[in-house]
Structure formats: structure tokens, C-alpha cells
Amino acid sequence: MAKKTLEIYSVELSGMKDIEQTDKGNGKEKYRGLKNCFEPKKNHRKEELTKELDLDDHKLSIKELEKKYGTNIITGLSSAQAAELLARNGPNALTPPKETPEIIKFFKQMVGGFSILLWIGAILCWIAYGIQYSMNTSSSLDNVYLGCVLALVIILTGIFAYYQEAKSTNIMATFNKMIPQQALVIRDSEKKTIPAEQLVVGDIVEIRGGDQIPADIRLLSVQGCKVDNSSLTGESEPQPRSSEFTHDSPLETKNIGFYSTTCLEGTATGMVINTGDRTIIGQIASLASGVGNEKTPIAIEIQHFVHIVAGVAVSIGILFFITAVSLKYQVLDSIIFLIGIIVANVPEGLLATVTVTLSLTAKRMAKKNCLVKNLEAVETLGSTSIICSDKTGTLTQNRMTVAHLWFDNQIFIADTSEDNSNQVFDQSSGTWASLSKIITLCNRAEFRPGQENVPIMKRVVAGDASETALLKFSEVILGDVMEIRKRNHKVAEIPFNSTNKFQLSIHKTDDPNDKRFLMVMKGAPERILEKCSTIMVNGQEQPLDKNTAEAFHTAYMELGGQGERVLGFCHLYLPADEFPETYTFDVDTMNFPTSNFCFVGLLSMIDPPRSTVPDAVTKCRSAGIKVIMVTGDHPITAKAIAKSVGIISANSETVEDIAKRLHIAVEQVNKRDAKAAVVTGMELKDMSPEQLDELLTNYPEIVFARTSPQQKLIIVEGCQMQNAVVAVTGDGVNDSPALKKADIGIAMGITGSDAAKNAADMILLDDNFASIVTGVEEGRLIFDNLKKTIAYTLTKNIAELCPFLIYITVGLPLPIGTITILFIDLGTDIIPSIALAYEKAESDIMNRKPRHKKKDRLVNEQLAMYSYLHIGLMQAVGAFVVYFTVYAQEGFKPSALINIRVEWENSNVNDLEDSYGQQWTWYQRKYLEWMGYTAFFVGIMVQQIADLIIRKTRRNSIFQQGLFRNKVIWVGIASQIIIALILSYGLGSVTALSFTMLRPQYWFVAVPFAILIWVYDEVRKLFIRLYPGSWWDKNMYY
């Protein structure tokens, strides 16, 4: 690898030195020249690309093409031929990605990890009832109700989740929008406009500026055509097209126009060589649909959680099944107990809670312009450890902007932020006055009319990208450009073309006393310099000597080395005596001088980074997230942008940088010294998976340039191999396979192609990379808060299960019934557990490392132990005290309750004696039992309030966190109490619910236990804070 990079970068370096020789004829400006240096090397990509894209039509002559496709470039296909081909090859349209039928999507919501647990619970309930019914036809219907409630919970939650996701999916558009509607085609020697879907291979089509290219076409004749390939290759610059075969690779050659890319200017005629899914874009799209969706980290965590719960449930169940059998219970009864225990372990409310919590966060994120398509993806960003970001359109604004100026022997920095408003460079020099005039006048671009109220940077311009940049730049600084142009009437003009590489215009000046003509010229810097004999410094013309030429080269190299496109500007005042006012300029005969100009300055342009990106990258860095740039663009541009946004930090160097600084060969550089690496697609192609792994591990700052969509996929897979959770951001069609492969694909909402949006899990509605930071923050918060929610929910499970276990083993009257438990799980506890989602972070979550996929689990052993065996048991004890109190005060002392179960439940025993000699009928006992349920319920509810408060934090004291900061928690507490009051006092007379009125004092029996829970947890947290890393910390922190 080192050797390869040496070769490449030595080329790059020599390219920079031999600046004047690099202009080999097909590049427009200097940057183009630098790029050309790569082309011999890029041949390496040929094999790979031909592997990927089987296309050689660009190499064929027109005659061969005509033969191959049985067409004629003058007359086109005949209608009959076309119809036959259309029938054979199908319409020229992309097969839409396989839509999952809505009903499948709907059912999918009901079979996820959690739902499975509930379904099993429901089915077990019905089985249990079946067994009970077979033994006793009048057995209680509780199990049927419970099963139905479980099923209902799943279905309602499924509907809710489906609705949430459908809402965000509806915002998405489909692929179809990408297809150009009409195409101008020559058939039967006639020009016809037909729907683009009816194009077939061999059709001759004509394309004009502004059109979308209707299929993959081989260009036959071209007039100044440039295309925007950014959605396909990631190249931010307009790509010139010609009819010549310039490169082996179909992606590189200039005589191919790709389906769905846009023709920006000029006209062209081409022959259709591929249609529909066989186009390059079609192949990439099918690549994306071939990539399976990864399971989201939260889905994995929930599955893990389900395993834990199921494990606990089955173990306890079997343990007590054996106990029950050895206690001489009948086997069928024991099976009922077993099922009862397993079902009691199912956290009925959690599915709904988690779904609501996720959708609350999704809503919060949507407000911050992150639209989440898949609810589970809400958390994924929080776990993300690597972000692979596309460059063009994601990190950059995807539009050329003036970045630097060089005049008066000085480089000035222009404002490249989105509104360009803050241009602070020194504008007092006379040179600037001249330069600004050239920029304004030597420019054919114009604003489309009727945009006076639109901010300058947002106005639509007719003209190419660099002219647009210059026009907007001068409009911002000088004001009304069109007015200036009007005052300096243009008398002649030579537009830019690729042979002379300059643009020239002659104007009358706006100074009425100055009768001279002003000739202004811009173009490739070295070409401009050739034509100059003087240079303007501080407004004064000076002869162009060796020193100034040297200074020019230094500046040119510096700007070019930053990946910027550099233009040179010069002017010449034509002497009034030779060129009187009446002189007629003829651009064909060139009856005016084209040398001895005065060089004024350089301007360089770049597709600048979005202003919010550097800050966002820094934040991601401090959050322990590695940001990798993966782009189809050229390494120099990529590296420059990477540096400016901080993906390569200011003080880190690549191996090549070190070699250059120390003037040694790349091989001699200790690779460990380099923090950054720029890797091109062709180097990547030659890497083994181990090498890629090594690369990803060893370099914290990596830029991948010149990558194909397939390679983006390989990079994402490489990162995932390291157990990283990978986020991919992108906007182009070329990104869509990687977006799909990623754990979370993030597409740009405004500039993003539909393919990218379709493949993504999340969409940044404002295209703001910084929204990712919000996403990370929300994702991490939701993970923490889900932990709290689950801990809260699991706790009372033990308090609900213990009574049943005691009932089986000790024979007490059943302390709490199934329906009562449901009222806790789906009643009093729902709002509080959702309220935990509103909890603020305990510490700066953006300053810690992303969680380890395999180590930092959502539900870990500690959480389960602490919830089940500590707080849960304390709750059980507290609730039992309330229960025993009620029974004792009504006449049944605890000792009398032991082994009373069989008689207690026998409806033929109507004179059961209590501890005081009183006799109870069966119904009187039943009513007392319900009172016991209510008492136990109240006991759990009171302690769940304490549980809710302690779950606000996992490490900090509640007092550090603030007891009242999260108001929703108090809404939750209020809801708990109100629901309990309603159940007891309002519905106490409804027998089916088995709630009864409860004496007010019983509501307070569990309060000491609640306080104890709080105190205990504060002590736990205190020790965790005091002794980090200690035994206590390891076993008690969840």
C-alpha cells in the first residue's frame, strides 16, 4: 500500500511542480490539470470497473455502434424496430424497489422481539385456561382475559408503531420522480418527442441544457455540453462531455452520458446504449436493493432483553414447578402454576412504553429536522461509532463558491459560508478595483429575472458553475452587477472554449472621460500569465519579472493544492489612438492584441463545506465517533475538504505529508507517525480485508476518494467487521447501497436523490450535517432512558411474581390477582415509565465514547439483578406487609393464613374460622381477598413512586439531577396515584375488576419501604461515585 501511495503522490507532487506542462488539452483550468495527472494511474481502475460495469460502447466508432445496434445516426431507428426492441427489453424505467405490502409491514410490527414474548405469554394463558377448563368447567376466566389483554396490547402497539412509521414514510417520494418525462428522439428520420420510458437501445436522442439524460447514451456530437454527475460519481464539478473516447473506463470517458444525470448546458446528440435497469444508475439501484437491511442495535438489545426475561421466567417457572410437584400438587395444577409464573414475568406494558418512548424521540428529532423512517433507528445514531460521510452535498454545499483571491502578492480568504455575506478581505487596493471589474464584466452568467427579493446566494443563474460563483461573488460585494455591465457596454466577446482556454470581452468604460476600450480576460492561470507582460501590484502596473512569476506560481500551487479550481484574470486598456471609439472589433479575425496584458489576480473556487459541518465534526469527535469521508471525488479535493471540516485535523499528517515535509521517500516514513490517511478507490481495490481492517484500526482520520458505490459498501462492511455501528450519510444514487448496508443510513432531504432517501433510515430535512449531532445526542439519551424505563418496569415484576410463588409454596390466600397486576402494568405504571423518556442526561453524554456493541448492553446482568433481587424484593416485602396488615386487622393473623389456601378457595366451606373464632362465608372471604389484592396493589404503587424517582439517575444523586427538573415525572406520579384512587374508590364496587375500597391508612403502610428504597438507592449511587471501579461499582452500576 505504501508503495502505491508513493507512486500516486509523487505524480501529484511532480504535477504541482510542472504546473505549466500539466495542461494537456482536455482540462479547462488548473485543477483539471492536476486531476489529469491521475489519469494514467486511474487505468488501474479499469479492470475493476469493467468487472462492475460491462460496457465498452464508448470505445467503438460510430460505424461500429450503428452496426451493433442496427441503427443509423441520421435516420434513427424505424418505429417498427423500436417497437420490437421495446417489447424485447421492456420500458426504459427503473424497476421500483420491491415495496413490502402494507399488510406485511403492519404484521411485521406485531412479530418483533418484544411482541413474540407477549404472544407466547398470551398463548400460554389460553393453554392454561384450556387445562383448567378440562379439569373444572366453571374455572375462572382470568387467564382468558389476560391472554386477550396481551394480544390487544400487541395489536394496539403494532397499530401505533405502524402509524408512526407510515407517517414518516409518506413524506418520502419514490424513485419514479427521477425518470425524465420526455425525450427528443430521431425515429424514421423524424424528430419526435416521446415519453422517455419508450426509449430503446439504438435510439438517437438530442439533449439540451437543463434536460435530464433519458438513458445511458453514447454521445455522437456535442456542442459545449456539461453534465452534473454528482449524484452518480460524487464529483461536484460539472463534467464536460465530448464525442471522443478519452478513457477506458466508461465512468471516466467523456463520450458517455448517464441516465438520470443532468445536462447543465450545451447540446448533444447521442445514441441510447442502455435502458432501464441495465443503465449504470439502474445497476447501482439494484445493488442497493440487493443489500439486506441490518438489524438495528436497539432491536438486538431488545432481543437480548427478551432472552434475559425469558430465561428468568423459565428458570423460576421450572424451579417452582418442581417445588409444586414435590409439595404434592397435582401435575396439571403445577403446569398451571408454571404457565402462571412464566406469564407473570412478561412485562406487559414495556412494549407499548418502548414504542411510545421511541416515537416521542422520533418526534423530537423531526422537530430538529431529523426525520426517522424506522422507529428503531432513533437509537442507532447514539450507538454509532463510525460515521462514513459522503462529501459532495453532505459535507459541502454542492455549489462552486469563490474561496480565495490572490492579488498584490497576497492570498485573501473569501467568505464561503452559505450566505457569503461576510466578505472581510481588504478591498481598498486599486488592484481589487481592477480585479472586481474583470470579474464583473468578463462573465456571461446572468440572474434569471424576477428574483429581486431572493437572497443572492439562492438566486437561479443561467450560466456554468464557475461563472455563477463569480457572478454571485461580485453581486454580493459590488451590488447590482447587471447595472455595472450596462454602464460598461460590451462591444465584443470571445466565449470560453476548450482550445483557447480563456474568455475575453471588450467593453466601453463607464468613465466618460476615458475613451479607451477595456479588454478583460479570464482563464486557466498559466494561459493567462503567458499573455501578460505586466502585473498589477497595489493598483500600479509593474513589469512581470521572475520574482513575481515565482510568487504567482507559489500562490497557484497553494490554491490548486487545496483542491480549488483557480482562474487567472488580466486586462488591457486599448490605446485610444489605435482603437478609436468607432473601431469595429472582429472576434474571428482577432483584430486586437491578445498579448501584453496586465495580470491582475487569481481567484480560486471550491465547493465549500457547509458552515455547520466543522463544528459538528468536532462534536462527533469528542463524542468518540470516528468520522470517515468516503467520496467519489478526487483525492486532492477530498483531502482539502476533509482538512477544512476537521475530518483531517489541522495538525495531523498523512504519510505523504510527512515524506514531503522531511523530503524523504514515502517508504521511509514511519507509518505510526501518520494519523491521517487518504486512500483512493484503486488502492482500496488492491487491499485484502486484513489490510482494510488494519487501515481502519490504525488511522483515526481517513479519507476515501475516488470510490465506487461497491467500494463504499466494502468500506461500510469493513467498519462493521470491527463491531462498529456505522452511520452512512449521503445524497447521491451512488451512496444508496452503502446507505442501506449501514446500521443507519442518513440521506439529505433537500439535495438527496430519491434513491438515497429510499435506502436511508433517517433523513436530514435541512441537509444540515449538524443535525447528526442532535441525532447522536438524542440516541444516546434514549438509550440511557430506555435502560431506566426497563429497570423501572422490571422491578415490580418481582413484586408481582413473589405473591404467586408464596401462594404456591406457603398456601396463603392469593395476595394479588391477575387483573390487578394488569392494572399496574398497563395502568398505573405506563405514564411514569414514559415520563422517564423525558429525563435529562446525567452527564455530558456527548463527551463519552459510543457504547460498545457487545459490552454495553441495554439490559445487563447488573440491571436485572438490581431490579429483581434488590428493589423488586424490597417492594415485595413492603407490599406483603400491607397485605398482612389488612388480613390481620380483619381477623386473619399471618399465622392463621399459612396453608389456608385449599379451604379458603373452597366455595363449599362457608364457616371458615379466623384467628378470633369468627366464621366467614366463601364470599366474605373472597371480598377480603380482593381487599388484599387492592392492598398489595397500593403497596406496589406506593413503592413504584419511589422506584420512579430513583430511576431518574443511575449514578448521580437525585439531588444533583434535580427532583423537579423533569416535570413529566410528576405528572407520572400524579397519574399513578389518581388511577389507583379511581380504581379503589371509584370502581371499588365493580366486582369483575376485583378492586375494593381501602381504608386510608393502608395507603401509607408501604411508605416507609418506599423511603427505604430511595435511601438504599442513594447509598448505592454514593458508593458508585465514591469508589469508581470498585467491586460495588462493578456489581451495582447498571
Binding site: V877, F880, V881, E890, G917, T921, Y923
Partner: protein, 280 residues
């Protein structure tokens, strides 16, 4: 694919083995001996504390209780009625007159139940005045005598077979004990046959009267040898000739406004329904 699965199975087996006992770290089930010791010690202390706390709160709660009278008696405002002998399943007595074996269980049950009502047992009890509540102030609470003779034919004195051998079976009806219950009016057990004219019902004492002197009850601890008043119902079938005689009998407390005998949910509150089937 299968190869991969197999490998992963072997791997997971090895992982499990390593989890159960890891020789390099000396970990057993993921913890070292020391770690296990510590965690077990922790839970020992923690659960010891919880158990102590539970015992303490239970003890404290029991301190609030009165040994003689339960704190609340609101759940049993009105007594239930039960019958003797205790039938095995639902309240159905079925026997064959000619087969002593078939009613032997009933007779033994009745005898056992009536044992405390023997003259011998009752000799230390007070002979209370009839027709008035026997309210006492303590500290010693006396119990009123319930002479078995009141049950006349069903007392078992004259007929040790309680009429079963003659096809006129006796069933005892009793009212549940409730501490402090003071019936108003003249409570009595009113029994009716729910099936038309198949049997005549005789109640002893006459009219099924329950004397007020047996109230109030002062609880197991204070009112040591308290005897519940009983009412006997004797079923005399009209048609002695038929082979199978059936009657459904409903007994209710009557004559006392504060003793309920009608509750939709509680079928035994102040009433009891039973069925007698006698075969020839």
C-alpha cells in the same frame, strides 16, 4: 451454511464450557471464587437485613392488634348459615334408608359436632335467662348452656341415628359466629321446601327459634366454651312408598331486621339451600 452453523455450535459449546469453568481465570459461572464469596456475602447481609426489617414491621403491626377482638369487623356484618353434617361435595345429602353404610358418615359427623353439646360438657356453663341478650363486662365471660334437648328428635339422644334409619333425616343449621353481633327482634331459622309437597319440615327448637341469650359472642379467647345455638331441621317425606324421595330445602334467618338473608352474590349470607335425597 451447515458447516458454519456446526462450527458456531461447537464454538458456543466451548463458550459455555468456558463460562461454567474457566481454568485460566478460575472463574466459575463467570465469577471467581472470591467474587462469588463476596456476592453471596452481600446477599446474605442484604437479605438478612430485609428479613429482619420484615419481621420487625410485622411485629410492630401485630402490636397494633388486640388479642381478643379484631380491629375491624366490617367485612362480616351479617352471619352466614351453614349446615351439618358437612356434605362432601355440593350441599346434597343422599342416602339409602335400608343401607346404614350410606348414612353412617352423616351420623358420625353429627355426633362429632354435637359432642361439645353434651350435658357433661355443659355443666360449667351458665343457665342464662331466655329472650334477652347476654351482655357481659368481663373480665371472665360465661357461655350459656344449650340444652341438647332443645333439638328434640334431632338431639341424638332418643334416636342415635338422627332419623336417617327411618327416612326422616335431621340436618343441623347453624349461624356463623361473629364477634359482637347482637341480633335484633326474634331471630329464627325459617325452613321451606322448595319442591312442592314432597316433604314436611320440622324445626327444633319449635319455630326454629334462636334465643338472644347466645349473643353477643366475645371471641375465641374470652368466650372460651361458647356454644353456638343450633336449629335442627327434620325432613319427613310425605310419600313413603316411592323409592326415591327428593327435596330441596331453603333455610333463612328470619325475624331479625339486622341479619340479612338476601344477597345476590353471597349465597350463604343468612340462608342456606340444601337437597336431601332418600332412597328406600
Amino acid at each position: 451454511m451447515t458447516k458454519k452453523e456446526k462450527k458456531s455450535f461447537n464454538q458456543s459449546l466451548a463458550e459455555w464450557k468456558l463460562f461454567i469453568y474457566n481454568p485460566t481465570t478460575g472463574e466459575f459461572l463467570g465469577r471467581t471464587a472470591k467474587s462469588w464469596g463476596l456476592i453471596l456475602l452481600f446477599y446474605l447481609v442484604f437479605y438478612g437485613f430485609l428479613a429482619a426489617l420484615f419481621s420487625f414491621t410485622m411485629w410492630a403491626m401485630l402490636q397494633t392488634l388486640n388479642d381478643e377482638v379484631p380491629k375491624y369487623r366490617d367485612q362480616i356484618p351479617s352471619p352466614g348459615l351453614t349446615v351439618f353434617p358437612k356434605p362432601l361435595t355440593a350441599l346434597e345429602y343422599s342416602f339409602t334408608v335400608s343401607d346404614p353404610e350410606s348414612y353412617q358418615g352423616y351420623i358420625e359427623d353429627l355426633k362429632k359436632f354435637l359432642k361439645p353439646y353434651n350435658l357433661e360438657e355443659q355443666k360449667n356453663l351458665t343457665a342464662c335467662p331466655d329472650g334477652a341478650l347476654f351482655e357481659q363486662k368481663g373480665p371472665v365471660y360465661g357461655a350459656c348452656q344449650f340444652p341438647l334437648a332443645l333439638l328434640q328428635a334431632c338431639s341424638g339422644v332418643d334416636d342415635p341415628e338422627f332419623g336417617y334409619s327411618r327416612g326422616h333425616p335431621c340436618v343441623l343449621v347453624k349461624m356463623n359466629r361473629i364477634i359482637g353481633l347482637k341480633p335484633q327482634g326474634e331471630p329464627r331459622i325459617e325452613c321451606t321446601s322448595k319442591t312442592e309437597n314432597t316433604a314436611a319440615l320440622l324445626t327444633y327448637p319449635p319455630n326454629g327459634l334462636i334465643d338472644l341469650k347466645y349473643f353477643p359472642y366475645y371471641g375465641k379467647k374470652l368466650h372460651v366454651s361458647y356454644l353456638q345455638p343450633l336449629v335442627a331441621v327434620q325432613v319427613s317425606f310425605n310419600a313413603t312408598s316411592s323409592t326415591v324421595n327428593e327435596v330441596t330445602v331453603e333455610c333463612k334467618i328470619d325475624g331479625s331486621p339486622n341479619l340479612k338473608n338476601e344477597d345476590d352474590r353471597d349465597k350463604f349470607l343468612g340462608r342456606v339451600v340444601f337437597k336431601v335425597t332418600a332412597r328406600a
